[in-house]
């Protein structure tokens, strides 16, 4: 059994990174919104799903026109990011801002709203796809350029071109975001609003604008992640965002919610853990407990983290204010 485990290990780690980068990018959206609003933006998993659906549609319609797979993917990433980002802004403008303007102190109100928005977006996408193609089980069109594969380390790892692209794009986006948050004026403003909204507004920052930008950035990252997810895992439905979204939130909590490097780390760690258990649980239990239990593992990690180290891996302890 040990031999079997060791033989699979390189592939498991490689696939874990693929999953981990997707989680990391989605987790950033949760963590940034939580940082500025202390809101668990449930609808973010649907922003991710919208990115994936846009990716499928771009491939469906532009693949015959655009010969080069890399150009096609670039177009899909840009469009997916833009559409998802705009959706995120709209959600903030029409669902969350009215609550903020009313000054609700009850924490349940925005959370319930977020769940509602998430359900609305799922069925709206289903409605659009239903009217458009009369189906909502979508398959990503395969493009030859992106499907090439190599075997690394003497066949220990089977790796596809699209997997390398996924990791490369993710790393670029994560670096870009780090630069944006730490080095630009917008980044300073976002951090200021996250630290203290009312003081920031006294310093000449318009919080509404910054919050809107935060949703745009988090939403576009989620959208790009969605396109890459569709490319990698190919089958997409309007309900595909729920589980990855919940896990990405777990990743954000794992890394320390509100903490940007934490979200990246949390995503990668969770991707590894989930893939690890998903592959090895059936082997270790002689098939008695199958891959299905990998979701259970993710939720148990969430609970354990919240109980044992609620500030996450990289977060700081925040005292509740009276």
């Amino acid at each position: 059994m040990l031999e079997q485990i060791l033989a699979l290990l390189p592939q498991v780690v490689f696939d874990g990174f693929i999953l981990g980068f997707v989680y990391a990018m989605v987790a950033l959206g949760y963590t940034m919104v939580y940082g500025v609003l202390e809101l668990i933006n449930f609808a973010h998993s649907e922003i991710f799903m919208i990115g994936a659906v846009v990716g499928v549609e771009v491939f469906r319609y532009l693949a015959p026109q655009v010969g080069n797979g890399f150009v096609l993917l670039f177009l899909a990433l840009v469009l997916g990011g833009v559409v998802a980002g705009i959706t995120a802004i709209l959600v903030e403008r029409f669902a969350y801002r009215p609550l903020r303007k009313r000054g609700t102190t009850n924490r349940l109100v925005p959370l319930i709203t977020a769940i509602g928005v998430s359900f609305i977006l799922q069925d709206l996408v289903r409605l659009v796809e239903g009217l458009w193609h009369n189906e909502f089980f979508l398959r990503m069109r395969t493009v030859q350029d992106l499907e090439g594969s190599v075997e690394l380390f003497g066949g220990a790892i089977f790796a596809q071109t699209k997997s390398f692209i996924l990791m490369g794009v993710s790393i670029l986006m994560l670096l870009g975001l780090t630069y944006l948050v730490n080095r630009t004026k917008l980044g300073v403003a976002i951090r200021a609003v996250a630290q203290d909204l009312s003081t920031a507004s006294l310093m000449g920052i318009d919080p509404d604008r910054i919050i809107s930008r935060t949703f745009l950035i988090g939403g576009s990252l989620g959208g790009v992640a969605g396109v890459l997810f569709a490319l990698q895992y190919t089958t997409i439905t309007p309900y595909v965002g729920f589980l990855p979204g919940l896990k990405a939130f777990t990743a954000a909590v794992l890394g320390g919610i509100g903490n940007i490097p934490g979200a990246m780390l949390g995503g990668l760690v969770l991707g590894q853990l989930e893939n690890f258990f998903g592959t090895y649980l059936p082997i270790l239990t002689n098939g008695n407990f199958g891959t299905e239990y990998k979701d259970v593992v993710a939720f148990l990690i969430l609970i354990l983290i919240l109980l044992l180290r609620p500030q996450g891996l990289l977060g700081q302890v925040v005292k509740e204010k009276v």
């Binding site: 709203t113 009217l131 609970i303 919240l306």
Partner: protein, 442 residues
């Protein structure tokens, strides 16, 4: 004013007799609206409500059009909320609707029974969730998990399923269902304890996510515990599940002069059983609300830190709310399993949890009549209105693609209800006094 409303009611009564159907019922709903919202004297109101009850019942019996059921629910709401109606009238009309109108309509159209039973099951669960979310302010997004535990508690032992892991004479005879309603209280309360012990230490929004995750875990378990030992029979679900024998009930009804046939006997039985359960649940709810625990829950909801400094032990008090809510759901799960004689993991998804939450939110968090109204509204919407609309789209608008079936869009409807309620009326349709104050104070 009074004359107009009464005239409308009388007109509806005539229509219900001469031309019963959707159109007549629409007139009735308008009449009900004028009775409820115009300034009328209490006497005129009482008279109108009585007339409308009679007319809706007549319409239902003669046509079986389900809009009439909405009218009856509306009258029930009016009876509980409108001021200055004599108590005995409220009680009498309410009982007449529940015990006479609905069963009579059910004999005319058995779908009314089905609706009534589903509304009842969901209303009892909404009342249970109301304790958790409304009174104690703990957002539980995995409430259907307890429903599942209750349903499977009876499903496994009330079918041949238990033979897979126990030696014994299974299925247990149907009478054991009553015993299992008690056992389900224990199993679901224990599940509540198990989930609550880690989850309730967390702050509000984390609690929501964790209960959502654990709700999914219960569903995943139900889906996959068909191997290595077959407990739940996996995605196929368990069937047939025993129902209690009801010979005594048939005899009782026969003595009362009610003739039952093969299809309506169990429906009437389960309808009355569910009514009885709602009665019990409401009583428990009222008593809890005015007890030491009820006040402690409200205190925790309003301000956790203040409540703690007043000497309320947070975790045990929250656990108690969680377990009480779970137990309500568990009992209804047993009835659900027996009534349908079939359970599968499909019935216990996140959508089910959110549906029940939507009922509580729509009616008003913490409000008992609100939870019942919410359950009635969403169940009728889900099982009746959306399906009728679907039928209409299929037959009258064939150019709409077949995948666009309104009955499949309950998420859209529930999502809209949640968002619109939170933005425009967070205290719900029938607000509880204290909650309303809290929402407005902010």
């Amino acid at each position: 004013m009074s004359a107009l409303a009464t005239l409308l009611s009388l007109a509806f009564l005539g229509l219900a007799y001469l031309a019963p159907g959707p159109l007549a019922n629409l007139v009735g709903l308008v009449a009900l609206g004028t009775t409820a919202f115009l300034r009328l004297s209490p006497e005129a109101r009482t008279l109108n409500l009585a007339l409308l009850t009679l007319a809706f019942t007549l319409g239902l019996v003669r046509s079986g059009n389900t809009l009439g059921l909405i009218g009856l629910v509306g009258i029930l709401v009016a009876l509980t909320t409108l001021p200055r109606i004599p108590t005995w009238i409220r009680g009498l009309l309410g009982l007449a609707i529940l015990l006479l109108s609905v069963p009579m309509a059910g004999f005319a159209n058995t779908f009314i029974f089905e609706l009534g039973i589903q509304i009842g099951i969901y209303a009892a669960m909404a009342l249970g969730l109301n304790v958790v979310v409304g009174m104690a302010g703990l957002l539980d997004l995995g409430y259907a998990a307890f429903f599942a535990v209750g349903a499977y508690t009876w499903a496994i032992f009330g079918s041949e399923q238990a033979r897979n892991f126990l030696a014994g004479n299974f299925p247990l005879p149907g009478e054991y269902m009553y015993l299992f309603m008690l056992i389900a209280i224990v199993t679901t309360a224990l599940t509540g304890l198990l989930i609550g012990l880690p989850a309730l230490r967390l702050r509000g929004d984390y609690l929501a996510i964790v209960t959502l995750g654990l709700g999914e875990v219960v569903r995943i378990l139900a889906n996959n515990l068909d191997h290595p030992i077959n407990f739940t029979n996996g995605p196929q679900g368990i069937t047939p599940i025993q129902r209690p024998p009801i010979d005594w009930f048939r005899e009782l009804m026969g003595a009362l002069g009610v003739r039952l046939d093969q299809t309506t006997d169990y429906q009437l039985f389960f309808y009355l059983l569910v009514l009885l359960m709602i009665g019990l649940v409401v009583l428990v709810n009222l008593n809890l609300a005015n007890s030491r625990f009820g006040r402690a829950w409200v205190a925790i909801r309003e301000d956790e830190i203040a409540a703690r400094s007043m000497g309320i032990p947070l975790l045990p008090t929250k656990l108690l709310a969680f377990m009480t809510g779970a137990a309500f759901s568990g009992v209804m799960g047993v009835i659900f399993a027996a009534q349908r004689t079939f359970v599968s993991p499909e019935s216990f998804t996140l959508l089910a949890s959110i549906t029940i939450l939507g009922m509580v939110i729509l009616g008003g968090m913490g409000s008992i009549p609100g939870a019942i109204l919410g359950a009635a509204a969403l169940t009728i919407l889900n099982l009746d209105i959306l399906k009728t609309f679907s039928e209409f789209v299929r037959t009258s608008l064939p150019q709409i693609p077949s995948q666009v079936d309104p009955a499949k869009y309950e998420r859209l409807v529930f999502g809209l209800i949640l968002v619109l309620m939170m933005i425009f009326r967070p205290e719900g349709l029938i607000p509880e006094k204290r909650h309303k104050a809290e929402m407005e104070e902010a």
